[in-house]
Amino acid sequence: MGEMRLIEAVRQGLREELAADSSVFLIGQDIGVNGGVFRVTDGLLDEFGPERVIDSPLAESGMVGVAIGAAMNGLRPVVEVQFADFIFPAFNQIVSEAARMYYRTNGDYSVPIVIRAPYGGGVRGGLYHSQSVEAYFAHVPGLKVVVPSNPHDAKGLLKAAIRDNNPVLFFEHKLAYNTVQGDVPEGNYTVPIGKAAVRREGQQLSLISYGLSVHHCLEAAETLAAEGISCEVVDLRSVSPLDTETLLESVKKTGRVCIVHEDNLTGGVGAEVAAIVAKDAFEYLDAPVQRVAALDVPSFPYSPTLEDALLPGPPDIISAARELAAY
């Protein structure tokens, strides 16, 4: 075990998979000599050489298209999209090609690629370096979408994603890279895609979240505990496929549920979770399903006063939880 930052856990996961499997290679912008703009791939070019750590032209669609082709010829590419905000030029390649290749070829061709991208706000990144994009991809059958909240899961889920035979979107909160630390076991372990984790046991209310927002939920739960409101915190870890069993189990126990994400409200992962809860845990509910999410603006604006007005955080969770508890 070693205590490390989330960014180091991602790097360690990449390094171990590159070392273990010669079919794994990395492709992305600035990932070579620069080590990535966040330094996730720092040192990997020196260790594995330019054939396995490829600095791509500034062309997201081409980069993902190349990765799909390489995967169809037996390799396991890991693509880094520099910011999740810049994934949209590759949307067609991901949704129209990677996601449906296995289905449309009736199981002949699979596309084992991982597309990593830093997401999320709170870093004054403005409209184009702050977005959460998971909901666009969670909608698409054939894709898996993973959002780790801590270093242990980041490494374990990344290794599982690289070994998975399907296209996996892997979103890393850029604020979490250096602010979230935790124990990471040495060597070979994976965290299964599609399995949630209960981060805090509680009795009265379920806070269901993923990514950096899990930490906001844990912080809020601490405050709420002091007020006598016992919160359970469920970390989805994968938003597609969803671990409906674990989230329903929690909701059935507590009878009150608040879904928390940094992505904006409408059409977000919270809407899907709410629909699942409404259908399969309706008679267990003691209060309406709540959602805490970013307000419906295009993305977080640059000025601190504006971004702070829109970013959901512990105070929003606390007030939603108080309302739920009092219902």
Partner: protein, 338 residues
């Protein structure tokens, strides 16, 4: 051009191109077969027995001769919907084509999940295509990148029309292949039409091959109605790719004798006179005349060949029509790979 250049000059051109007489006969047979399948498929759509078709009439010389320049057992093809001739050369049987046309369970291109003429056949090294044209171009660079990284002695050839060359993926795929000097041949069939939009509305420079210079590798335009010219150009491009010399862009100028698809009416944007004039350029009778004058074919053997091809297509239609559809309960299978 091929017209009436006489038997002697033809035999010179044949040896220049690297083909022998048997190769020329083989190319002719596949051209005939592609045409027969295309024509029959069109009729099947008119009869309502098949729901969609994309005719390749006019493009057979380009598709067949280009694929003939590959090592068909080891090289990869990334096709588009009009690449029927190349599919046949790569080893897809007429029965398999018809299973695809009818959307049957045994269709090796996707078990009835894909629309007709949306090719992809792993065992034959045919990389699956969808309907979103141009996405195949960086994909081909990726297949070739994997060949390079694995030390696999294979060339990848991607087929697309001049309309697809307007997609951003064209630029991105060629740029990447150029940087990494990948073993890939970009084969553009320029028939002048992207459905109803003429090439002069795609670009102010209608010669697609010129763009290769911008990516740092050779580009060449050839007469796509002349199988020898196509074969010669592609053979050179394939040899360059295989020897580590990097990619090439080969543009074959062709004609589109039929509408874009069975859902299109080309008389909305082309005149009957124009179409009749284009039909005069049909590569099939021109190649037949050449083979006749070179004594690689006579009227009798030509007729026998046509009869055999027609019989092959008819029996494949019968076979595919009688084959089972996929089971409805299989519609949910295979969303995710295990």
């Amino acid at each position: 051009m091929l017209a009436n250049d006489g038997a002697h000059r033809f035999s010179d051109r044949l040896s220049d191109s690297g083909l022998d007489g048997a190769d020329a006969q083989r190319v002719y047979r596949y051209m005939l077969l592609a045409r027969a399948i295309s024509e029959k498929s069109w009729l099947l759509t008119r009869q309502g027995r098949v729901l969609f078709s994309m005719p390749c009439d006019g493009q057979e010389a380009a598709d067949v001769a280009s694929a003939h320049a590959l090592d068909t057992a080891n090289d990869f093809i990334v096709p588009y919907a009009r690449s029927l001739g190349a599919m046949l050369v790569k080893g897809m049987t007429t029965q398999e084509v018809m299973l695809n046309m009818f959307g049957k369970a045994a269709d090796p291109n996707g078990g009835g999940r894909q629309m007709p003429m949306h090719w992809g056949y792993k065992q034959l090294g045919i990389i699956s295509m969808g309907s979103s044209v141009g996405t195949t171009i960086p994909r081909a660079s990726g297949v070739a990148l994997a060949s390079k990284l694995k030390g696999q002695n294979a060339v990848t050839m991607v087929y697309f029309g001049e309309g697809s060359a307007s997609e951003g993926d064209f630029h991105e795929g060629l740029a990447f292949a150029g940087v990494h000097r990948l073993p890939v041949v970009f084969f553009c069939t320029n028939n002048g039409w992207a459905t109803s939009v003429p090439v002069n509305l795609q670009s102010a420079e209608p010669q697609i091959a010129k763009r290769a210079e911008g990516y740092g590798f050779p580009g060449i335009t050839v007469d796509g109605l002349d199988p020898l010219a196509v074969y010669q150009a592609v053979r050179e491009a394939v040899a360059r790719a295989r020897s580590g010399g990097g990619p090439s862009l080969v543009e074959a100028t062709t004609i589109r004798m039929m509408p874009h698809s069975s859902s299109d009416d080309h008389l909305r944007y082309r005149t009957p006179e124009e179409l009749a004039a284009e039909r005069e350029l049909d590569p099939l009778p021109r190649f037949r005349d050449i083979l006749l004058s070179a004594e690689l074919l006579d009227d009798e053997s030509d007729q026998a060949l046509r009869d055999a091809v027609d019989q092959e297509v008819e029996s494949a239609i019968e076979f595919a029509d009688a084959a089972p559809f996929p089971a409805p309960e299989s519609a949910l299978n295979g969303v995710y790979a295990p």
